[in-house]
Symmetry: C3
Subunit: 160 residues, 3 copies
């Protein structure tokens, strides 16, 4: 395998919505399975996709955010028809019925295929989600310039 | 015209919002008019852009989804200021006053210019929208790997 | 510096949400700081990022839009947890505590680094936001084909 010839995908994952995360990880896993070199940069709401199932936040607002937007990747809700949690439950059932994997499973598949997951440092500070509250599999926590460097070398760039 | 020299645009259309679909089809039609080779992959909510004006869903949840998120491309609502349908009506009036085409017209323009529309198979299964409930002009229903292949060859990639 | 060798970023900014604008300008400023040639095309809700702090709209609906979606870049609200303005206030406080610049400051940084801001002509007409209600720093108001031309030459393309 000629490493320099591998096509690259660099993706910003801004959204923490269940449905968008599903699309992001499906594309990432599909690209890695097609022998692409894949990096995902999680920023803002997207950080939820990297969180452990723990409460976050130090300041008053940080804790408030930790409550309203708490939980791990499988607590994410769809961007439409959320209905205070019913939407998540409904989509989970519909996906299970079609034997679609859960988000946590899909993320693991992506990791197994070599997808690299990065956390955005500035978002982690603003949202008060420190490294130790994120899953061990996160490759690194980096600034926006690292994403720019990756994106410059990429053949495919997406903002989800 | 040297076919191999044509620039390519590969777009994922995840959103089914009126305003985002409008942006997606405007960019697609503009690119095709500029002699680009354009493919659009409709997934999740974006599938509405390919639906006929028919009711969908087999299971209880599928039917529920078919009711709440029913109709065809011209039943889509804006992502902001939806106000239970008033937003759609308002934007339609504002666009008409400026002689902006409707979404169905814009989609037809894109098709006439050679834009290829693909449906995402897995979303079609989860959302219970079979091929026969989608417009005839859909080129093919494919998996994520087909998008990856197209995106690898593309000069411009977007996720809408 | 060889001008032709500079890498290019072309971004569509469709969203007018505080958090997404923050991501868009952070990426743009980061790319410009990394010596990339950056162009941002503001369309639909994204136009708010270019507005002066003035009321817009001529027709009844245009004025209604001007009221509900009024103000300048610093009046934008987050895409989640908006809570009728409380979310904006909360995020502003959280960002300030972490010494993150305001959106207006970040936009100025991007401009100082040479980022070019374009307004989408068709959106300006539909939303009834004329050129004179937009900040002087806007480079030009253009059609979708200008974006296509820029995107074709770009190494990185994003839709925010």
């Amino acid at each position: 395998m000629n490493e320099e010839k591998r096509k690259k995908l660099a993706m910003v994952v801004f959204s923490g919505d269940m449905d968008k995360l599903f699309a992001a990880f499906s594309i990432a896993a599909g690209a890695a399975a097609s022998n692409m070199d894949v990096t995902m940069f999680f920023t803002f709401w997207g950080l939820r996709a990297l969180k452990k199932k723990v409460r976050t936040g130090r300041s008053f607002f940080g804790r408030l955010l930790g409550i309203f937007y708490g939980g791990d990747i499988d607590r994410s809700t769809p961007s439409k028809m959320s209905f205070g949690g019913i939407g998540r439950w409904m989509f989970k059932r519909m996906m299970k019925a079609k034997r679609v994997p859960s988000l946590a499973q899909l993320r693991q598949t992506a990791l197994d295929l070599g997808v690299k997951l990065y956390g955005c440092q500035m978002s982690m500070e603003v949202m008060e989600i420190p490294r130790e509250k994120m899953i061990d599999e996160v490759a690194q926590c980096v600034g926006v310039v690292t994403f720019i460097e990756q994106a410059q070398q990429a053949d495919v760039t997406l903002f989800v």
